[in-house]
């Protein structure tokens, strides 16, 4: 094992801390969807920037790993760049922007468009792990509700959505039921990504400030909650990508001038770049939109 920077232990965290996190991860994998408390450490970044995800990533990294970090689907935004640099410096691992080449992907609020494969690990940054939090503020009570599988209240929220908006308007952090048992917050991914939670990869969720870790083992059953007469629907903007023409990917809307001009582009930058390199074109390809 070669260390890139001798001032840091491999992967920044000390070995005892990694051991503690790994124990929590194993327990989380054994009970899919259950929130395991862990002794979250102070990290050299503010809460809300992915302290939970970074600790999980640090505990999972090996020197042979190839790391990819995305923020809202993009490889090149502040959060993604700084976390990627952090692990380049403290672990010296190889990094990539290509989903297929990565063995470990840390993500903030998206699942890559390219289907994940066996052997890959997807680490989520989670701000608020408790799906019932905004309905029931007491932690003692929400824990009891999970223990007793008392999830009627979750449906009250969906009912309110329909009553006020005519449809289930929860567009992100859409609650799911895991293996018919625990209701879980899939972190604030768009509900478009919910079907992708049933995956061949290991999915780990880390909430640093809230000190919780939970997980989805490969191929585990994940069902989005809904009503019989208002079934779950994975929604996205009703457009094609303006750069690569993809009609099936999740899109970001970008305002391009102050005259109402806008463009829609894939939120997954690696996926979009890959399609453009393969010759796909969209409505605004080749034009200077800046």
């Amino acid at each position: 094992m070669t260390l890139h920077d001798q001032n840091y232990n491999f992967g920044y965290l000390d070995e005892q801390t990694k051991r503690m996190v790994r124990r929590a991860l194993l327990k989380a994998l054994a009970i899919p969807g259950y929130q395991v408390p862990f002794a979250s450490r102070e990290m050299p970044m503010p809460y809300g920037w992915g302290t939970g995800g970074v600790q999980v990533t640090a505990a999972c990294l090996t020197p042979e790993d190839t790391l990819k970090v995305i923020d809202q689907g993009a490889d090149d935004t502040t959060n993604a760049v700084s976390i990627r640099k952090f692990f380049q410096r403290t672990a010296g691992v190889a990094v990539t922007e290509h989903t297929e080449q990565a063995s470990l992907i840390q993500t903030r609020h998206r699942i890559p468009e390219t289907p994940l494969t066996e052997g890959q690990i997807l680490v989520y940054q989670v701000p608020i792990p408790e799906p019932l939090r905004f309905l029931e503020p007491r932690e003692t009570e929400t824990r009891r509700m999970h223990a007793l599988e008392d999830y009627g209240l979750m449906y009250v929220k969906l009912y309110e959505d329909i009553a006020h908006n005519g449809e289930i308007s929860t567009a992100y952090a859409y609650p799911v039921k895991v293996e018919g048992r625990y209701v879980m917050d899939p972190s604030p991914i768009p509900r478009f990504d919910n079907p992708k939670l049933e995956s061949a990869a290991i999915q780990l969720f880390g909430a640093g400030r809230e000190q919780r870790i939970y997980a989805l083992p490969p191929y585990c059953q994940v069902v989005s909650l809904d009503f019989e007469d208002h079934p779950f629907e994975a929604s996205k903007a009703d457009h094609d990508c303006d750069l690569c023409g993809c009609a099936t990917s999740y899109l970001d809307e970008i305002i391009v001038d102050d005259a109402g001009g806008r463009m829609f582009i894939c939120s997954d930058t690696d996926f979009c770049a890959g399609r453009q390199a393969a010759g796909h074109i969209g409505r605004l390809s080749g034009k200077d939109t800046a």
Binding site: D150, G152, Y159, A163, H164
Partner: protein, 256 residues
């Protein structure tokens, strides 16, 4: 006939102080029992013990469940007790804020119990909510308003609708008319009396308002300092009080 609820020697201490002592009663299907007494006499403690909100120090609370016949409620597991609390039982709090979910609409408040026992069809839940709001005289166009926007009387009626939507057999009421003005009280009592008769509910009503028990209750229990001092038919107790405290209580009512 099997009593719906049998209470045997329920005792609850708060430290060295007595909450309620050695209370026993039988409640038969379709019967309304009133519990009166002054503040601090142990009425609410007793009700909380019966409803499973407080664990008594001694005694038994035996409920005639639909599926398994008479069972000791205090010996049930927490999920069983919760299930009972939201299907066969109802609890109407004195302050509607304790019994309602103030952050969600009236419809969701009524629907919550349905969803908690497994209803997953939005249209049907809403239909039942509309039906129940109508029964407690709340206009159907208020269904998407939050309880905050309701008057005190409406909040109390909403709480009743929310509790009765699953068709319970036993209702616990803690001062259901407390804090309401007299004309609203009268209408609420009228409504409650109608619902109790129509649905054949059994109820235990705790109050310090003798007019409430006169209108609602078949039988009456008078409590003082944590103990039952007198029981009997409502009219009998109110018109011919035997115990000194009951006499004081009855004669304290202002005649207008």
């Amino acid at each position: 006939m099997t009593p719906l609820l049998q209470v045997k020697g329920v005792t609850k201490h708060y430290g060295a102080r007595l909450g309620c002592g050695d209370v026993s009663l039988d409640l038969y299907p379709g019967e309304v029992m009133g519990i009166v007494g002054e503040s601090g006499s142990g009425k609410s403690t007793l009700l909380s013990c019966l409803a499973g909100h407080l664990m008594p120090d001694a005694g038994e609370v035996i409920y005639d469940t639909r599926a398994q016949g008479p069972r000791d409620v205090l010996g049930m597991s927490e999920p069983e007790r919760r299930m009972l609390g939201r299907t066969d039982w109802a609890f109407v709090h004195q302050n509607p804020r304790d019994g309602l979910r103030m952050g969600v609409s009236a419809g969701a408040n009524v629907g919550e119990r349905l969803m908690a026992v497994g209803a997953r069809h939005y249209g049907q839940i809403r239909e039942q909510a509309v039906d129940w709001l109508g029964r407690v005289e709340i206009a159907a166009d208020r269904i998407d308003d939050r309880p905050r926007a309701f008057s005190g009387g409406m909040q109390q009626r909403l709480q009743i609708a929310r509790n009765l939507v699953t068709g319970p057999r036993l209702v616990f009421m803690d001062e259901p008319t407390g804090g309401l003005d007299v004309s609203v009280q009268a209408r609420l009592l009228d409504l409650l009396r109608g619902l109790v008769r129509e649905m054949g509910l059994s109820a235990i009503v705790v109050t310090h308002d003798l007019a409430v028990v006169r209108l609602l209750a078949d039988r009456l229990m008078v409590m003082k300092d944590g103990a039952v001092v007198e029981t009997g038919l409502t009219d009998q107790v109110l018109d011919d009080p035997q115990h000194g405290y009951t006499q004081l209580l009855v004669s304290s009512v202002l005649q207008v």
